[in-house]
Amino acid sequence: MSLPAGAVAMVDEAEAAPVAVADRPTAPGRPRRKRKGRLDRHTGLWAAFFLAPTTIGLGVFYLWPVVQTIYFSFTSWGPFGGHTFIGLDNYEAIFQDPQVGVAARNTLYFAVLGLLGLPVSLVLAATLNRPGRKGVSAYRALIFLPVVTMPAAVAIVWRWLFNGDFGIINSLLGSVGISGTSWLSNPDTALLALAVVGIWSTVGYNMVILMAGLQSIPKQFYEAASLDGAGPVRQFTSITVPLLSPSLFFVSVLSVIGSLQTFDLVYVMIGKTSPALPQTRTIVYLFFEKAFIANDRGYAAALAFVLLLVISAITGLQFWLQKKWVHYA
C-alpha cells in the first residue's frame, strides 16, 4: 500500500467505494471542486445510513418519551389513558406539596453521602494499580463484583445484614459490647445505611474508570519526581491527583446523577410501612408512588421533568466548577 495519494483516489473512484474515499476528502494535489460536492452528498448519505439505527433507537426510546413526558406534565391522566390539558396545575401542586421538599432534601443528602465513595474508589484504584503484585486481579474482580450483581439481590442481602434483631452487623457489634439499632427502620440511620450500600455497589465501577486514568499518566513524571526527591505521598498529591482530575470529574458527575435517581434501594430495603420511609423517600420513589400507586401520572410526569431540570442544573454547575480543579494534560 505504498501508492501515492492520487492513485488511491483513482482506485476508489473506479471501485466506487465511497466510504474509503470519505477518509481522504482532501487528498492533496488535485483541484476537484465539482467532485467534492458529489462526494459530500454521498458521504452525508452514508453517514446518515450508518447513524440511523442509533438515531432512530435513541429517538424512539429516549427522546420521544422525554417529549411526551413533558407534554403529559401539563395534563391530568386517567388511569386507563385519556388525558386533559390542565396547564401548570401539576407544577403548582408540586411546589405546594410538602412531601416534595422533604424528598428533595433526602435525595440531595443521599447524593452528598454518595460522593464520599470517591475517595474510597481513588485509594482502592491507586492501591490496586500496581501490576505484578500478588492477588491484585482477584481483588479487582472482588471489588467489581457488586457492579455486576442485580441491585434487588444486593438490597435483599443487605437487608438481612442490617436486621435489628437477627442481623450479622448487630451480632458483630454485640460481641464487642455495642448494642446496634434497627438500622433500616430507625429514621436516624436509615439513609446512612442506604448510602453505605450505594457506595459499596458503585465503588468497583469508579475504581475501574480511575485505574484507566492512572494508567494513562506517563511514567516519566514519577521518575522525574523521584529524582527530585518526592516521596510516594507527595507524588500522589502533586502528580496523581491533578492528572487524574478529568477521570475524577467524570466519576463525580456520574455518581451525582446516579444518586439523584435512586429508587431501587429504597424500594427493596425500606418498604412502605417502615417508620424511616419519610426520611428516605427519594424523588424517584415519590414519582413511583404518584404514578403507579396513586395513578396520578400527570403529576408524576411533572415531577420527573422537574428532576430532569434539577439534574441538568447540578451537572451544569459541576461543569462550571471543573474549571477550578480539573487539569487536562
Binding site: 386507563f80 436486621n163 419519610p278
Partner: protein, 418 residues
C-alpha cells in the same frame, strides 16, 4: 398531497363512526363460529381448579373454549392496566375489592346485564363489593375473613385460657400482658400496621368507619375510629407488642411462626402458610376476633369480571356467570385453597385443615364488614400508611395522625369524582 390528507380524514372518520356504532350496540348477539375466551388469574395454586371449571364450561358450551392465563400477583394489576388501556385485556379476569371501582368507574368492565344472575347464595357484603352505580359487575368467587391466631403452647405455659367468642378487647389486652415475657423475647401480640388484618377490624368493632358508604368522605376524624387505632398503639406503648421498627425488620407473621409472638390477627388464607411451618402446624389454632363495642371482622373476596371491550360480550358474561355457579364453587372447594363464596360449599375447605378450628372464620360471616374501598383505593391506602406510621412509632398522638389522615384522605376522595 391534499387528496391524501382527505382520504386519511375520511378513513379516520369512518373508523370513528364504526367505533361509535360498536359502542352503542345494545344487546350483544351470539358469535357464529367457535369462540376462544381468555381468562386472567394470578394464583398459581388455583390454576388447576380454574382449568377444571373452564373444561366444565366447554363441555356445556362446546363452541366456547377458555384459555386460562396466569400472571403472578406482583405484576397482575400493572399488566392488566396497560392491557386494558390498549384494549388487549383478557375477556374475563379476576378482580379484587381495592381495584374494582377504579376499573368499573373508568368503563373498563362490562356489567352482567345480558345474563341471569342470582346474588342470593353469596354473603351480602361481598355482593355489594362488586356493585357500582347499582349494577352488578361480578359474582363473588371466594372470600376471606380475619381471625385471632394464637400459640397454644404459650397459653398453656402462661396458664391463660384459650381465646373464644366470649373475649372482649379487655380480655385480649389482659391475656397479651400475661403472655409477654421480655426475658424470652416473647410478645403477647403484634400490632401490625395493616388495615385488612389490623386496624380496619378494630375501627369497625369500635363502631367507626374507614370511608363513608357513598365513598365521599373519610371516617378517620371520628373519635370511634381513633379508638380503633388506639387499640393497637396502646399495645406497642405497653410493650406487649414489638415496636414498629422490629415489625418492619421482621414481618409479624414470621415472628408468630418463630414463637416470638403469642397472638396474631391473620386471615383465613394464613391456614395454608401456618400448615407449611412445623411450629405453627403443631402449636397454632384460631378463634373469632374479640369484640369491642360490637362484633366485626373484615371480609374480602375476589370476583370474576368481564372486560368491556371483549369481542364476545355474551359468551364472556355467560362464562363469568358460570364461574359463580354452585358447580364451579364445588370444584374450587375440593382443592382447599380458598373458601368458595357460594353458601353451603364451604365445609370442604374447613375439612382441608383439620388441625385448625377454621369454622371460626365462617361463624363471623353474619357481622362481617366489607373491606373499605373507593374509586381510587390505592391512593388513600398510601396516605394511611404514611400518617399512621407516625402514631405507631409513638412520634405523634393517635388523634393527631388520624385527623391529618382524614384531611388528606378527604382531599384524595374529592379528586376521585373528577
Amino acid at each position: 398531497m391534499r387528496r391524501r390528507l382527505i382520504s386519511v380524514a375520511v378513513a379516520v372518520g369512518t373508523a370513528a363512526v364504526m367505533a361509535l356504532a360498536a359502542c352503542s350496540s345494545s344487546t350483544p348477539t351470539e358469535a357464529s363460529g367457535p369462540v376462544t375466551l381468555s381468562y386472567g388469574v394470578w394464583d398459581k395454586n388455583q390454576v388447576p381448579a380454574m382449568q377444571k371449571i373452564a373444561d366444565a364450561f366447554h363441555a356445556a358450551n362446546p363452541n366456547v373454549t377458555v384459555n386460562v392465563q396466569l400472571t403472578p400477583y406482583t405484576d397482575y394489576f400493572t399488566k392488566l392496566q396497560v392491557a386494558a388501556t390498549g384494549g388487549e385485556a383478557p375477556d374475563v379476569f379476576w378482580m379484587n375489592g381495592p381495584n374494582f371501582q377504579l376499573y368499573a368507574s373508568n368503563g373498563v368492565l362490562q356489567p352482567l346485564t345480558d345474563v341471569q344472575v342470582d346474588t342470593a347464595p353469596y354473603p351480602e357484603s361481598l355482593v355489594k363489593l362488586y356493585q357500582y352505580q347499582g349494577k352488578q359487575y361480578g359474582l363473588p368467587k371466594d372470600f376471606d375473613t380475619v381471625g385471632l391466631w394464637y400459640n397454644k403452647k404459650h397459653f398453656d405455659a402462661a396458664g391463660v385460657k384459650y381465646p373464644d367468642d366470649t373475649w372482649t378487647w379487655a380480655t385480649f389486652k389482659e391475656a397479651a400482658t400475661k403472655l409477654t415475657d421480655p426475658a424470652k423475647g416473647q410478645f403477647g401480640a403484634a400490632a401490625q400496621l395493616t388495615g385488612q388484618e389490623g386496624y380496619y377490624n378494630t375501627i369497625f368493632q369500635a363502631g367507626g368507619q374507614v370511608v363513608s358508604a357513598d365513598g365521599k368522605s373519610s371516617g378517620y376524624d371520628d373519635p370511634k375510629a381513633v379508638e380503633g387505632l388506639k387499640f393497637w398503639t396502646d399495645l406497642i406503648a405497653a410493650n406487649v407488642s414489638p415496636s414498629q421498627g422490629q415489625m418492619t425488620d421482621t414481618a409479624p407473621y414470621q415472628m408468630f411462626e418463630a414463637g416470638k409472638v403469642s397472638m396474631y390477627w391473620g386471615g383465613s388464607w394464613d391456614a395454608a402458610e401456618f400448615t407449611s411451618n412445623a411450629l405453627t402446624k403443631a402449636d397454632a389454632d384460631v378463634a373469632v376476633l374479640p369484640q369491642g363495642a360490637q362484633r366485626a371482622t373484615v371480609i374480602h373476596g375476589l370476583s370474576n369480571v368481564v372486560f368491556a371491550r371483549t369481542k364476545y360480550k355474551l359468551e364472556a358474561q355467560r362464562f363469568a356467570a358460570f364461574l359463580g355457579s354452585k358447580e364451579a364453587a364445588e370444584i374450587q372447594a375440593g382443592t382447599g385453597t380458598v373458601i368458595p363464596a357460594y353458601n353451603g360449599t364451604q365445609a370442604e375447605w374447613v375439612a382441608a385443615y383439620p388441625q385448625f378450628k377454621l369454622q371460626n372464620f365462617l361463624d363471623q360471616l353474619p357481622y362481617a364488614k366489607p373491606l373499605p374501598v373507593s374509586a381510587n383505593t390505592a391512593a388513600w391506602n398510601t396516605a394511611e400508611t404514611d400518617e399512621l406510621t407516625k402514631a405507631w412509632t409513638g412520634a405523634e398522638a393517635v388523634d393527631q395522625s388520624a385527623k391529618r389522615l382524614a384531611e388528606s384522605m378527604n382531599a384524595l376522595l374529592a379528586k376521585e369524582g373528577r
